[in-house]
């Protein structure tokens, strides 16, 4: 996979052709999403839309945390600012004339971005002038402030929440925003303008000696990231049409942060895939049904045995990798053998777990286990690949081509 540092810049020339093609493809994809409404179950469609929002959130947080290296942990607050600002505007100023629903929503998206961007500037400017972890503390506190303010403002619905009327849903716009967010971040790191951002992450003292205005660079990244979160919040508010402060709790921030870290800080591809996977996984588990049509029940000994298997897997994978990968063993082989050992260990452990009397009769519903599965996934990734699944790597067409060429060469040889 092509690395950010593998120097695959956009080449000048033959430019508008490929560019128009990507724009057409992106639009086609968005309308495809829009057209799916009604043809797939409403629940699945809803997940699809929310996943698009999470892609925007995680890629925009990646710009701050991964690319520029500033540790922000209050991204949900900007999401909330976007939702509440536009909710307030829609309730008080929207009457369908002269703007109809969709153009209004587009304007609201921009308003949400502007609102969150301005708030981001106010939060970022004082805390980013300093070097160090101040941003983490400030964003943490800011999340709480926004939450308390919305809970106590009558005009914003208080803790009961805010009813946004009319409900304006545009799933294609959600995905268009996600694609714009990905495109903007990718364009940034593909051109020379992205290098100061990466340089600030690597070494602030050296980058300022090279003429990089570090404060400006950090604040720019923070404002762009916050603005995208605000735009996503605007769409979310209008999609749900009912927002409460509880929907933007600290957990949301941490889930977005988890997506960035698991995907690989600095990798846009990584945060996109991690957003889809980490948002999709718990929702998919929720839909699992048992043979009787009710929610899937899993016997407790099986769960315990599976957890035991995971522990064995991690231990084996690390051991085999550290010992034999250096000596030329393929990673796939190392992980494969670890999986084998783990499965055997787990099967052997199961009857043991069933020996515990109260355990044998207990079974748990999948719904109550899905966050456990989520957490275990995170722990495993962090133990086996702390730099994130994709590290600093990035998907590129050149990489895909080189993969095919390699295969062809192998076939010829």
């Amino acid at each position: 996979m092509a690395s950010v540092t593998a120097d695959s810049p956009v080449k000048p020339g033959a430019f508008w052709g490929t560019r128009l093609l990507s724009i057409v493809l992106a639009l086609a994809f968005c309308f495809g999403i829009g057209a799916m409404e009604g043809s797939i179950p409403p629940f699945a469609f809803r997940i699809l839309v929310l996943a698009g929002l999470y892609v925007t959130l995680s890629v925009s947080l990646n710009l701050i945390n991964g690319i520029t290296g500033q540790f922000s942990i209050g991204h949900a607050a900007f999401y909330q600012v976007g939702a509440y600002v536009t909710g307030f505007l829609t309730i008080n100023y929207f009457d369908g004339q002269p703007l109809t629903a969709i153009p209004w929503l587009v304007i609201m998206m921009i308003a949400g971005a502007a609102g969150a961007g301005i708030v981001g500037l106010m939060v970022g400017l004082p805390s980013l002038r300093l070097r160090g972890d101040y941003l983490a503390i400030v964003t943490l506190g800011f999340g709480e402030i926004i939450s308390i303010v919305t809970r106590n403002q009558k005009a914003l619905g208080g803790s009961y929440g805010m009813q946004i009327e009319p409900k304006i849903q545009a799933p294609w716009l959600v995905w268009l925003l996600a694609i714009i967010c990905i495109a903007v971040c990718r364009n940034l790191i593909k051109t020379a303008h992205g290098l100061p951002f990466l340089a600030v992450r690597e070494d602030e003292v050296a980058s300022s000696a090279m003429g990089v205005n570090t404060t400006k660079t950090k604040v720019t990244a923070f404002v762009i990231g916050s603005a995208f979160a605000g735009a996503a919040g605007a769409l979310y508010g209008h999609f749900e049409s009912f927002i409460t402060p509880d929907m933007f709790k600290m957990e949301v921030s941490f889930i977005i942060l988890t997506m960035v870290v698991i995907g690989g800080t600095g990798s846009i591809t990584g945060s996109t895939l991690a957003a889809l996977f980490l948002f999709g996984l718990p929702e998919w588990l929720r839909t699992l049904k048992g043979a009787d049509g009710n929610a899937l029940q899993i016997p407790a000994p099986q769960v315990i045995a599976a957890l035991f298997g995971v522990v064995v897997f991690v231990a084996c994978a690390r051991w085999v990798r550290d010992r034999y990968h250096e000596k030329g063993m393929k990673l796939a082989g190392a992980y494969g053998s670890a999986v084998g050992i783990a499965v055997v260990a787990s099967l052997l452990f199961r009857p043991l777990a069933a020996l515990i009397p109260s355990m044998a009769e207990t079974s748990w519903e999948i719904n109550s286990l899905r966050m456990v599965i989520f957490a275990v996934t995170l722990v495993v990734v962090m133990l086996l690949r702390p730099e994130g699944v994709l590290g600093h790597h990035e998907f590129s067409w050149a990489w895909l081509r080189s993969l095919f060429n390699k295969k062809n060469k192998e076939v010829q040889a």
């Binding site: 950010v4 540092t5 593998a6 080449k11 303008h193 290098l195 992450r201 690597e202 090279m210 600093h392």
Partner: protein, 278 residues
Amino acid sequence: MSEDGMTDLQEEELDRADLIHSEGGHVLSLMDATIKFGGLTAVNKVSFDLSRGDLFGLIGPNGAGKTTCFNLITGVYKPTSGEILFHGKSVAGMKPNQIAHLGICRTFQNIRLFGALSSLENVVVGGFLRHKTPLLSSLLLMPSAVTETAELREKAMHLLEVMNLADDAHTRSRDLPYGKQRRLEIARAMATDPSLILLDEPAAGMNPQEKEELSTTVRRIRDEFNKTVLLIEHDMRFVMGLCEKIVVLDHGEEIAAGGPDEVRNDPKVIEAYLGEAV
């Protein structure tokens, strides 16, 4: 870009050219530059002048205040008192990035490359401060930004060739051997197109042959690229063979100044270095 309508950046560029070419005088002048950290006076009333094309050495035992001097010149610290003039303009109290824009660039004693970036990208960061396209054109991937990126990379590649690093252009700078990292730091500093370049112990950790090559490179920087060079070095033979003017610091004070021979025979310098063959 239109021919008559001048952008701010172009004007700034002309200002810089004015600054550099109009002054017949010194490139850099320290006038009683002093910095105190609490009770400690790290640099005490140090004064020296660099003329265009000087190869100037700043030496002294450990803790003499040499690197602190560099930090004063490049804006990391603000002098407590005294004045620092660059082409006659005061730079004391300016931020490091502003000073880099004016045309002073440095390397670091403990190498500070952008580890995860390739050699080429490191040098492009250096060259980036003379960029002209706005951020928005990059975010929208406008042709101007793409062309500029290609140009910056080309310039950077040229500098890597000069520093004999072209083969490692796409290697992560963190993975380069020590000697190459030192050279890459010089290439990166050169990319900012400075008129004065500060080298902080460029020969540290190099073997005699590498040091010899480095001397040649530093001379080339001066002769071919018309830069003024100020360097800190511990290796006496290296400094004496390379620099034409030398200032010796000890405990933050200037104890001697002059050509290599003058400095070498100065009793104060011998005392400061006590036992070391000067």
